[in-house]
Symmetry: C2
Subunit: 239 residues, 2 copies
């Protein structure tokens, strides 16, 4: 068995021009390997049934069976029994509030610490970080705390977007928002561009996918990270 | 004296191609009239001194004196004595947390109810709504509650941005985010495009500036509102 934690964190579920999860299929198969059933957490979207049906189609295409947590009669028990977990995207506040309300954070942390593979996309990648303080989402509901799973020692900003040349919009750019985060917090932020994927295996952390990422640390210039970068030091807080 | 409340809410402090507050000067002068001194709340940005200096320059250009709340020894007393209030933009979570931490929400509500003019821009417009659940900002700090001033019965979304034709970015559009808000909340949302200004005088509510707005209500198609629209019914919750 591989060392814990085992994480595959997607910036987005879909890249422009292809279907749901299609761009990431090879990485998902490589990560999940022989685990035949995946437990899906649909809480980031409003319609759990429709969301689970869509995700089930994508996983069945990859020859995995998919159970959805909203159909479980005992949710902590379903986490306890899961072979692998996938937390899908949507609204991060809604997702985190549901995880708190159903008291699932501790159960997920324990299983990940014991080696259960954790797959997250967008909001599902956000909640793997210490807090959701670097989500892009609208705070449509109020979770009891911004504290998240803390499976990583740094923050994720999914759907990371470079400043648009020639834009006339005066709202903050993504980089400006992350700089504001660093005014208030000392935790590093990894901005994952759409198509970028982070894979963690124990003490190994690697940036996959073609899109690259941008690393923001307090008091330092942002660092451009190419596809394939090894981020073990960031995972070990040695940067 | 005019009926309370008196509010002037700007979508943005700056429109593309002009200086800070320049596009709104005529509306600000018309709204503030003869009040010679404005109390400024700089809490949405990190550097209060720099922010107050910038805003002071803009108000002195309009022949108003500007005091900044961060320089007051007794902040609730400064609110109590203010002739007019301006809450500037920046990060809405940081602003609201400061207002809660300094216990200023009640004092501001009381003064606005008694007729004190309230000028807000971006984050300062967000906090005039019942909650900050429709801000675009990153949740970089955790306020004790999302509850805001509630000077209006509906939500504001400042810097409202129409979907960009041809975009390849897969993050949610602004409209999709607001639709998610309406899945969880029954309160209407007024999306103010950059350049749009909302002026409330007692029971009168009018949309100023050239940019127009978009009104989102649960179970209804979004409604396009042209510059000059009268929104008294929205203010009275009659829509």
């Amino acid at each position: 068995m591989s060392d814990a934690p085992r994480l595959l964190l997607l910036s987005t579920s879909t890249v422009f021009g292809s279907g749901y999860l299609e761009y990431a299929e090879a990485e998902i198969r490589s990560f999940l390997g022989g685990h035949s059933t995946v437990l899906f957490v649909p809480f980031a979207l409003h319609d759990h049934d429709a969301y689970a049906a869509k995700v089930r189609t994508a996983f069945e295409r990859m020859s995995y069976k998919l159970d959805s947590l909203h159909e479980a009669t005992d949710q902590p028990q379903a986490i306890e029994a899961a072979k692998a977990l996938f937390i899908g995207g949507g609204n991060t506040f809604r997702l985190l509030k549901s995880l708190h309300d159903h008291d699932l954070l501790g159960a997920i942390r324990q299983r990940v610490a014991a080696g259960m593979p954790y797959l997250g996309s967008s909001a599902g990648s956000n909640v793997a970080a210490p807090t959701i303080r670097t989500t892009n989402d609208m705070p449509i509901v109020e979770p009891p705390s911004f504290e998240a799973l803390g499976l990583l020692p740094f923050q994720i900003n999914p759907h990371y977007l470079d400043p648009e040349p020639g834009s006339r919009h005066m709202g903050e750019t993504r980089e400006e928002r992350i700089v504001q985060f660093l005014e208030e917090n000392a935790t590093a932020v990894l901005g994952l561009r759409e198509g970028a994927i982070l894979r963690v295996e124990g003490s190994s952390c690697r940036l996959l996918g073609p899109a690259g990422a941008r690393l923001f640390q307090r008091g330092q210039e942002p660092l451009e990270l190419a596809a394939g970068s090894v981020l073990d030091d960031l995972l070990a807080k040695r940067v």
